[in-house]
Structures are given as structure tokens and as C-alpha cells.
């Protein structure tokens, strides 16, 4: 009888203890480092993503440290070092980091209401450029460096599909996709490589008369910017992070956080979502990732 009571008592007390212990094991976890690629300046990145870091901190009951770098090289060094537990970057960065360092994607952006994004080449309507072949020998401004998925890789893919190889046109690089479109509007180049909804952006509309521009070519729709977790992160934690980030859309506070990040919502993502990106990267950069 006593033995039974003892067992029962033990069982009764063990469960809470186990739960508490389990909880304590989660809440007492080490801080996580959240890295965001330097798409924007450090200050802007901080202000945009700090609310998310705080929300994750609260949800995960652990400190989330938001880290920014002044340039991409520095950022990539940290990615290569697996310094980031959670990292947000572009599609190329993901497939490369996944290939080289084992990062796993958890969510992907929905921006301006678009789940997917395409790369495109834009020209002025009065430029007399009607096909991609007309760009042979012309100057094209890309809205990012060679690693910019939508601003360089996708538009270059379009050019390759049209038979234009490196050397068949002049490449120039703007600081950002909007600036590439603006530069093309002001005739600094014949065409701009950028994302497919650039002409809808308020910042672009403010600078130029978008009615004078047109999309010469647009690629297939591709998955948006991903968020990935370190290879070493547990699936449980990764899932929790994913859940927290996806659920932001369901609360007002979460929506505000998303708005601060200039993101509509976050969707769960899998590695297979980026298969097309791998194919295209192989064609453009010659990298089999």
C-alpha cells in the first residue's frame, strides 16, 4: 500500500518536475545570434529587426542578439563561421550557406503581399528596346552585386536564356534595385535588372514617372527571401522559432513587427522551395549548389 502511494506520489511529482525541468532547460538556453544581411545600412537594419529579436526573445525565453555588419564580406565571414544561429539573407546566400555550411531554411518572406518574386529587366518605353537581344552591346545596371538573387542572378539568367553571354553587354552595379531603375530612367543605362514589382514601390514612384518604364522581360516566380537556422540548432528549437515567426501575422503586435520589417508575413519554408534558385545559379554563376 505504502509502496503504491509512494509510486503514485513519485509519479505525480515527477511529471511537474520533468515539465519544469524541461522548461527550465529551454528558458535557460544560451542566447541566440540573429544575423541579417547588410541589404540596408546597419542602423536601419537594427531598427527594422530589433522588434523581431525582442519577440523571439520573449517567445523563446532567451536572449536574441541582433547582429549587423557594415558590408557583405564581414557578414559572410560570420555565416561561414556559423556565428549566426538565425540568419536572414537572400536566396543565393541560403543555397550557398546550405551547401557549404549546412544552414536550414525555416521561413520565407512575403513582401508587399507577394509570396514569390521574379527577376526582371526594365527599360524606358522610349528606348526602342523591344527584346532582350536588343540589349546586345548596351549597358545594363543591376541593382546589386553578383550575389544579388533578384537584382543580378535572375536578370542575368534572362539574358542568358536570350543568348547574351558575359561580354555581350556592359555591366554596372547600383547600390540597390530601386536605384538601378532610377538610373535607367535617367538614361544612365539602357536597362535595369531588378525585382518584378519595383515599379510599384512608393520610393521608386516618388523619384520617377514609372509610366515611362516597362518590364522588358520577367522571370518565373521564385520563393522570396529566406530565414535559416544554424546546422547545429535542434529541430525543436528551429520549429519553435518557425512557429513564432509564422504566428506574428496572427496578432496585432506581430503585424506591427512584420510592418517594421517591411514584410507582409512569413511562411514556412523548405529547402525544396529553393531548387529553382539552384538551377539558375548554376547557369549564371557556374556554381553547383
Amino acid at each position: 500500500m505504502r509502496k503504491s502511494i509512494a509510486i503514485i506520489l513519485l509519479t505525480l511529482f515527477w511529471q511537474p518536475y520533468a515539465v519544469v525541468h524541461a522548461q527550465q532547460e529551454v528558458s535557460a538556453g544560451p542566447e541566440l545570434r540573429l544575423g541579417v544581411f547588410p541589404r540596408r545600412s546597419s542602423n536601419v537594419t537594427q531598427s527594422m529587426f530589433k522588434p523581431l529579436a525582442d519577440a523571439l526573445s520573449q517567445a523563446l525565453n532567451r536572449k536574441i542578439v541582433l547582429e549587423t555588419t557594415y558590408d557583405f564580406a564581414s557578414f559572410w565571414e560570420k555565416v561561414a563561421d556559423n556565428s549566426y544561429d538565425i540568419v536572414h539573407y537572400n536566396q543565393y546566400h541560403y543555397i550557398k550557406s546550405h551547401h557549404d555550411y549546412g544552414y536550414r531554411v525555416i521561413v520565407r518572406n512575403v513582401e508587399f503581399g507577394h509570396e514569390k518574386i521574379a527577376g526582371s529587366i526594365l527599360v524606358r518605353k522610349d528606348s526602342n528596346i523591344e527584346t532582350l537581344q536588343d540589349l546586345r552591346g548596351k549597358k545594363i545596371i543591376f541593382g546589386g552585386g553578383h550575389k544579388a538573387m533578384m537584382a543580378y542572378i535572375m536578370p542575368t539568367y534572362l539574358l542568358r536564356q536570350a543568348g547574351l553571354e558575359k561580354g555581350d553587354y556592359f555591366e554596372r552595379f547600383a547600390l540597390s534595385p530601386p536605384k538601378a531603375v532610377v538610373a535607367t530612367y535617367f538614361r544612365q543605362a539602357v536597362a535595369a535588372g531588378a525585382g518584378s514589382y519595383l515599379l510599384d514601390l512608393p520610393t521608386v514612384k516618388k523619384e520617377i514617372d514609372t509610366s515611362e518604364m516597362k518590364y522588358l522581360a520577367t522571370s518565373q516566380q521564385m520563393a522570396h527571401l529566406p530565414w535559416a537556422v544554424n546546422e547545429s540548432m535542434s529541430d525543436e528549437l528551429a520549429l519553435k522559432i518557425r512557429t513564432t515567426m509564422v504566428d506574428l501575422y496572427n496578432t496585432e503586435e506581430g503585424k506591427n513587427i512584420l510592418k517594421t520589417m517591411r514584410i507582409t508575413k512569413l511562411l514556412p519554408a523548405n529547402d525544396s522551395d529553393f531548387a529553382a534558385h539552384r538551377e539558375i545559379t548554376k547557369v549564371v554563376l557556374g556554381e553547383a549548389l
Partner: protein, 851 residues
């Protein structure tokens, strides 16, 4: 008062044009100034902004270009340093990096850069790139300066391979020298040959190896890979040969044909050299055969590329900003052009509106005002309200002034009309109005089958009254005459003054000639009552001429002429008579006009001649003077006396030349007297009143005296009383001058004119000639006798001589002699005769006197 747009407009329409246009001008000026100010401010702000952007961007562009130039220079410096890693080139890199840093600082502090966070980030990144580049350049410099790290293979070559090469060659040369001293055997010779061959092969191998090194550093061949491959193959060949030769020599050494130890040593050195050669070859074949290139490629070049890309991005932004500025300035220019066009159009519209308003508020009212004036000018009266287009104060004032002026004009016009049709003194209708009424009256009389009676009245002796009592009295007399005439006539009759002392009365509805006679008598009776003017009681009569229309004539002019003629004839009848016009009167007038024409030619045709009537002194019975009397030898009527034509002469102005002629002829005749010895016989000449009026007599007499050289003392100037009545003061003056010249003055027809006694007061009269009318009835008529006696006595008292005219009987002579008349003239002694006859009479007289 409730404000409403309508009431405002009504009020606005009444304010003065000056105020209205002042308000409009102020408002327009305010608007133009405001618009211009706004436009200027807008242009100024935009252009200022653009200029600042341009300035800032130009500065950024300059700094960016400097940075790019420095980067290019740094790249060149790296290349130079790699080729020649001396202190100077190293310092050059350091200097250029410092300059590059200063360019980046300039960019960092640039305002245009600062206003864009992405550009600021870009410049910050450039700064960090610069630091990276500096670090990389340090590493590059270190590697390059360090011979061991620069090209590791070369270090091995320079140390181990060279050392072993030298050792090998030394050993070999030693053996060659030793063997060459004793070439006494065939084997020794063979050893010698082997050693030499070894020497040659070694040299060739080293040569090929060195050549390969040279090719590796870029000398001698375009195809480096092929060149190196060839040299390697050659080195391998030579190495094989050397190896073979060393084996052969080893065999020889064991036979003591050569120093075996040396051969073994050479072999060892060769193997070390060949092992080292392999490692050198491996090192040279690797991608990292030059560490400076590795550092440059891995560390320096990426940073440079990054810098180039960032610089390219920044230049792109600069270009875009320039394009934006150009676009903005183009937009500004376009806006300015549009503004100018809009302003020009606005001003044009404002001008048109202003013209419209000006036309409506000023031109149109002025035009209407002009029409009003024109209407007034042509006599169409319209109320000013019709022309009151504008209610502005100025126009209201103008309209009021116009109305006032029109009223005044009408009043004056009316007054002028009245004055034009009425006599200003008597206020009676004048000749013009009379003619007008006469015409209407004639028309009415013809319709009504009645007559129109026209009376012409002339006041008798009015000139005498005017001259003696003054024009004031004369005017009063005329006014009273006008009143009396009006009292004598009906309201329907027209009493008018024709001018001077002539009046006319128009009587309509005459059915019987007696009506006119009665009227004339009534008028004459009215004139019988003296006119009291001040202290004067004047008796005035009038002569009335009456013409009847349409019986006498049916036209105004004809009827007037008929009445005038009738009046003329009434005057001939004496004072206070009336005469009806008859056809004969017209004939008389016609005859009068014919005679007038004939008289004009008479002087030219020498139809005038003088006759002379002697004046005989009563005491001596001698001819003392002769009176020159003018005669006209009329071509049809025979000889005419002055009475027949003198009035016409005086009317036509021929009196002066005729008088001149008479004086001259008379003077000539006197000269004949003088020639004949009768210089004491004076010549009397009659002067007309019209000559005596205005000093003309002086010219006439002086001319005659000058022309004939007659002694003025021998001339007697005879004047009548009537002559003096017309201008007594003037005549007195002229006569005084003539008297002063020496002439004698005789008053002719004394007693017949008015104011005879006053004439005797004139100091100029020397002789009084009693009119024949007084002598005619002597001695029968007692009054005449008394008068003559009185005249003689009175004249004598006044120291005047007396001559009696018209003496025809002895009785008259006796009477006159008894009453001591000085001289006589008349038919008793002689009728007027020609000059030659007078001479005869004078001679006869002289003969009689001498006995």
C-alpha cells in the same frame, strides 16, 4: 444695408472713374507683383536648391574622381613596386593610400553624400576598404621584400641549388684538372672525355634550367607553357645523361682511374640538386609560385575590385543625380516658360479686359457724349439720360456740365437769335425778322386774299438832333418813337427798326388802302406830340413810305424797295408826310440808277464844266468875286445843274474827285483872272457836306492849291448850314485849318438850315450869304425884310461880310444897299457864265469903273 453682389455692383458703378481705375491699378499691380514675386521665389528656390546640389555634387564628383585616380595610381604603384621593391616605390604606395584616404574623407564630409544614407554607407564602406587595402598592401610589401616569401622556389634555387651547383662544378673541374695531367692511358683519356662530357652536360642542364627560370619570369617566349615544357624536357635529358655519365665514372672510380670519392660526392651533389630541382619545379608549377601575386590576387585585388565597384556605384549615383538636376532644371525652365506664357496671356487678357472696361466705361460714354454734342449741334435735343451710359462720378459731373452748358447755349442762342432778329436799342424786330415776317405775311395774304401793308418811316432831321444833343438823346428819342409806333399799331402788326432812324411797320389783313392811310395819319399825329427826353422837349416828324402787297409787288425784296422808294418820295414832300408807292417812283429810281452810272463816266468824259456867277460889291459896284458853279453836260439831257445830280454824287462817293476837279478848275480860272490883271477877284467854291466831314476837305483843297499854285487868300470856301449840321465840330476844325491857310469861309444859304445862329458862333465864318428865299419877296414881304436886316446887322456885329443871293430887281438892290449889305449876287447882274465871259465882264466892269 444688406450687402449683395448686385448692390455692390450698383455702388461700384457710381464711384468715380479715378477711384475705380486707381483701385484696379492697385489690384492689378498687387497681383502682378505677387505673381512675379511668387514666380521669382519659386525659381530662386528651385534653382538655388539645384545649384547647391550641383555644387555639392560637383565637389563629390571631384573627390570621387580623385579617389579613382588614386586607386589607379595605387594599382600602378603596386605594379612598379613588385618590379622594383625599393624604398621609394614603397613610400609611393603609402603616399597614394594616404591621398586616397583624404579623398574618402572629402566624400564623407560632402553634403550631397550626407543627405543619402545609402551613399553615406557606401563611403563608410570605402573607408573600410581603404583600411583593408592598406593592410593588404603592407602584407604585399612584406612578401615582396622578403625574398624567401616572395618566390619560395627562387630562394631554394639561390641557396641550395646554386650551392650544390657550384660544389658539383668545383668537384668536376678538380677531377678534370687532375686527369688532364696524366692522359697517358686510353682509360685515362676515356675518363677525361667522360669528365668533359659531364662538364658539358652539366653546363647545358644548368643552362636549360636557367632558361626555364627565365621563361617562367616571362622572358624569351610568348608561349610560356611550351617554353617551360621544352626546357624541362631538355633538363631531364641532360639529367639522364649526367646520371649515366656519373654511373660510368663511378665504374672508372672503382678502377682508380678517377677519384672515386669525388665521383661519389658529385653523385651526391647531383642527386641533391636534382631533388631540389624537382621541389623547385613543383613550387614553380603551383599557382602560388609567386607569393606577392598570391597576396595581390587574394587580398589586394578583391579590395581594389570592391573599391572599383563602390566607386562605380557612386559615380552612377552622381550621374543619376546630374540627370535629375538636369531634368529638374528642364522642368524649371519649362515651368518658367509656361509661367511666362501664362503671365503674358494673363497680361494680354487683363489688357483686353482693361480695354473692354475702358471702352465701356470711358470710350463709349465719351462717344455717346460726342453724339450728344453732335445732336446739339444739329439742333436735336435729347435728354442727357439717354447718354448716361456710365454712372461714374466724372460722367455724372460731365453730364451735369453738359446740361448746364446746353442750357446756357440755348439761352445765349435764344438771346442771340433774339438779338439777331431784334434791334438792341428799341427791342423791336430788326430788318431780318421783318423780312421773315413779311414773307410769311405775303404768303398768308395770298391765301387769305388780303393785302399786306408795309410802311417805311424815316425820322426827319434826326441827324441834327443826334449831333446837337448827343447820341444818348438820339437813342432815347428812337426808343420813344418805337413805343409810340407800337401804341399806334395792333398786336398783330410788326413794328421794326431797320437801322439808324428808319422804322418799318408790317400790317397784315389789309382789305382797304384807307386802313394804311389812317394808320399813317395816326402815326403822324402821334409824332405831333413832342418827345420829352430829360430836360429836352423835342419835336420830331417822320416821313412815311407805304407799299402794298401783293398789289405793288409780291416778293419781300420788291415790297421793301417799294416802301423805301415811297418813303424817299415822302421825304421830298417835306416833313411829316406819307406817300403810297407808285410805279412811277420805280421809274424814278431806275432813272436815278442810270444817272449814277453816267455820273461815274462824266468826269472821265469831261462832261463837267464850270460856270461862274459874279458877286458885286454894293459900294463899288465892282465884281469882287465869282462863285464857281458846277454844270454837267449830260449826253442826253443837256446841261444839268448840281441839284439834279449832286445827291447822287454824294451817295456814290464821287464828291471827292469832282470837288477836286472843281477846285482845280476854279483855281485855274482864278489864275486867268490874275493873268488878266484881276488878282483881287476871289474865287468862291462850294464844298459838299460829305467832303467837310472827315478832314477830306483838307486834302482836296491842299492838292488843288498845290497843283494850281493859287494863293489861298484868293479862295472862298462856301459851305451850307446843312453841311455844318452833320458834323459841326469836325467841320469847324477843318474850316479853321483852311482859314489858317488864308482862305475865306462863306456860309451859304444862310437862314434855311437849323441852328443858323449857332453857326455864326463859329470863328471861321467870314462871309454870310443870305439865301435867295429871303431876298425873293423883298421888298414886299415885311418879315423877310426884317430878317434880312437882322441878318445883315448881326453879321456885321460879328465882323462878317454879307452877300445877298438871288438878287434880281432894282428894288432888292436898293433895299439891300439901304441896309448896308456888302455884296450881292444874282441874275440882275449876271447869270452864271463860262470863265471867258467872266473875264469879259471883269474887263467891262473895269472900263466902267475907269470911266
Amino acid at each position: 444695408m444688406k450687402f449683395s453682389p448686385v448692390s455692390f455692383l450698383e455702388w461700384y458703378a457710381t464711384i468715380s472713374l479715378k477711384q475705380r481705375y486707381l483701385n484696379a491699378t492697385l489690384l492689378f499691380s498687387l497681383i502682378v507683383i505677387s505673381v512675379a514675386f511668387y514666380g521669382w521665389r519659386y525659381v530662386d528656390q528651385v534653382s538655388h536648391r539645384q545649384l547647391i546640389h550641383i555644387e555639392d555634387r560637383a565637389d563629390a564628383s571631384g573627390a570621387m574622381q580623385d579617389a579613382i585616380d588614386q586607386i589607379h595610381a595605387i594599382e600602378t604603384a603596386f605594379q612598379i613596386f613588385v618590379n622594383k621593391p625599393d624604398k621609394k616605390n614603397e613610400q609611393s604606395i603609402s603616399n597614394l593610400l594616404r591621398l586616397f584616404g583624404s579623398s574618402i574623407e572629402r566624400l564623407r564630409s560632402n553634403k550631397w553624400i550626407k543627405q543619402d544614407s545609402s551613399l553615406t554607407g557606401l563611403v563608410i564602406s570605402l573607408g573600410k576598404d581603404k583600411i583593408k587595402l592598406a593592410d593588404a598592401s603592407i602584407r604585399l610589401i612584406d612578401v615582396r621584400k622578403d625574398g624567401v616569401r616572395w618566390i619560395p622556389a627562387m630562394y631554394t634555387v639561390q641557396t641550395r641549388m646554386l650551392e650544390h651547383n657550384v660544389l658539383f662544378v668545383t668537384e668536376l673541374d678538380f677531377n678534370i684538372a687532375e686527369v688532364s695531367e696524366a692522359l697517358d692511358t686510353k682509360n685515362k683519356i676515356r675518363v677525361y672525355k667522360l669528365l668533359n662530357e659531364l662538364r658539358h652536360s652539366w653546363d647545358m642542364m644548368i643552362g636549360e634550367f636557367r632558361l626555364m627560370l627565365s621563361i617562367k619570369f616571362g622572358a624569351f617566349t610568348d608561349d610560356q607553357e611550351l617554353g617551360i615544357k621544352s626546357r624541362r624536357e631538355n633538363v631531364a635529358i641532360y639529367m639522364n645523361r649526367i646520371d649515366g655519365l656519373l654511373v660510368d665514372l663511378g665504374a672508372m672510380g672503382r678502377r682508380d682511374l678517377v677519384d672515386n670519392f669525388s665521383i661519389v660526392e658529385m653523385r651526391r651533389l647531383f642527386y641533391i640538386w636534382s631533388d631540389t630541382y624537382d621541389s623547385v619545379l613543383t613550387s614553380l608549377s603551383s599557382e602560388n609560385w609567386r607569393n606577392d601575386a598570391v597576396v595581390f590576387h587574394n587580398e589586394v585585388q578583391p579590395v581594389l575590385n570592391q573599391i572599383h565597384q563602390r566607386a562605380s556605384s557612386l559615380q552612377l549615383e552622381l550621374s543619376v543625380a546630374t540627370a535629375k538636376n538636369i531634368t529638374n532644371l528642364s522642368i524649371l525652365a519649362r515651368d518658367l516658360s509656361n509661367f511666362v506664357i501664362i503671365l503674358a496671356i494673363s497680361i494680354a487678357l487683363a489688357s483686353m479686359l482693361g480695354y473692354f472696361i475702358f471702352q465701356r466705361s470711358i470710350i463709349r460714354p465719351i462717344h455717346q457724349f460726342g453724339l450728344a454734342l453732335q445732336s446739339e449741334a444739329i439742333g436735336k435735343y435729347r435728354t442727357t439720360n439717354k447718354y448716361m451710359i456710365s454712372k461714374a462720378e466724372e460722367f455724372r459731373d460731365l453730364m451735369k456740365a453738359f446740361d448746364d452748358m446746353r442750357e446756357q447755349v440755348r439761352t445765349r442762342q435764344s438771346h442771340l437769335d433774339h438779338m439777331a432778329h431784334h434791334d438792341s436799342l428799341t427791342l423791336l424786330p430788326n430788318r431780318v425778322l421783318l423780312r421773315d415776317r413779311l414773307g410769311l405775311a405775303i404768303s398768308r395774304s395770298q391765301r387769305n386774299n388780303t393785302d399786306v401793308g408795309l410802311m417805311f418811316l424815316d425820322l426827319d432831321q434826326f441827324k441834327q438832333i443826334n449831333d446837337s444833343l448827343g447820341h444818348g438823346v438820339g437813342d432815347q428819342l428812337l426808343k420813344q418813337v418805337a413805343t409810340r409806333l407800337q401804341e399806334c399799331t395792333r398786336d398783330t402788326d410788326t413794328v421794326s427798326r431797320l437801322g439808324g432812324d428808319e422804322f418799318a411797320i408790317l400790317i397784315e389783313g389789309v382789305t382797304d388802302v384807307d386802313q394804311m392811310s389812317k394808320m399813317a395819319r395816326k402815326i403822324l399825329k402821334a409824332f405831333s406830340i413832342p418827345f420829352t427826353i430829360g430836360n429836352h422837349e423835342l419835336h420830331s416828324t417822320t416821313s412815311i413810305g407805304i407799299a402794298m402787297g401783293p398789289s405793288d409787288d409780291i416778293t419781300v425784296d420788291a415790297l421793301i424797295k417799294d416802301a423805301d422808294i415811297a418813303m424817299y418820295h415822302a421825304k421830298d414832300l417835306g416833313r411829316g408826310n406819307y406817300k403810297f408807292y407808285s410805279g412811277e417812283m420805280a421809274a424814278y429810281v431806275a432813272e436815278h440808277m442810270v444817272m449814277e452810272n453816267q455820273l461815274r463816266h462824266a468826269l472821265e468824259e469831261n462832261e463837267f464844266f464850270l460856270v461862274f456867277q459874279p458877286v458885286v460889291d454894293m459900294k463899288t459896284n465892282q465884281i469882287v468875286s465869282t462863285e464857281a458853279l458846277l454844270r454837267w453836260n449830260h449826253p442826253h439831257k443837256g446841261v444839268l445843274e448840281p441839284g439834279k445830280f449832286l445827291s447822287i454824287v454824294e451817295e456814290t462817293g464821287l464828291i471827292r474827285p469832282i470837288t477836286q476837279w472843281v477846285l482845280t478848275q476854279a483855281s485855274h480860272q482864278y489864275n486867268e483872272y490874275k493873268k488878266a490883271g484881276f488878282e483881287n477877284v476871289r474865287m468862291a467854291v462850294n464844298l459838299s457836306g460829305s467832303i467837310l466831314k472827315n478832314n477830306s476837305v483838307l486834302d482836296v483843297v491842299i492838292n488843288a492849291v498845290a497843283q494850281t499854285q493859287i494863293d489861298p487868300n484868293s479862295l472862298i470856301i462856301e459851305i451850307t448850314e446843312d453841311t455844318l449840321l452833320e458834323d459841326m465840330q469836325g467841320a469847324e476844325k477843318s474850316l479853321a485849318i483852311l482859314k489858317e491857310m488864308g482862305m475865306h469861309i462863306a456860309l451859304d444859304d444862310f437862314g434855311t438850315g437849323q441852328s443858323s445862329l449857332s453857326h455864326l458862333r463859329m470863328g471861321s465864318i467870314d462871309i454870310v450869304k443870305i439865301d435867295r428865299s429871303f431876298i425873293r419877296d423883298i421888298p414886299g414881304e415885311k418879315n423877310d425884310m426884317n430878317l434880312v436886316d437882322a441878318i445883315i446887322a448881326m453879321s456885321h456885329k460879328l465882323q462878317m461880310k454879307v452877300v445877298a443871293e438871288g438878287v434880281e430887281t432894282q428894288e432888292q438892290i436898293d433895299f439891300l444897299r439901304w441896309h448896308k449889305c456888302d455884296a450881292i449876287q444874282g441874275y440882275y447882274f449876271s447869270k452864271p457864265v463860262v470863265g471867258s465871259e467872266i473875264i469879259k465882264l471883269l474887263l467891262k466892269d473895269k472900263m466902267r469903273a475907269s470911266g
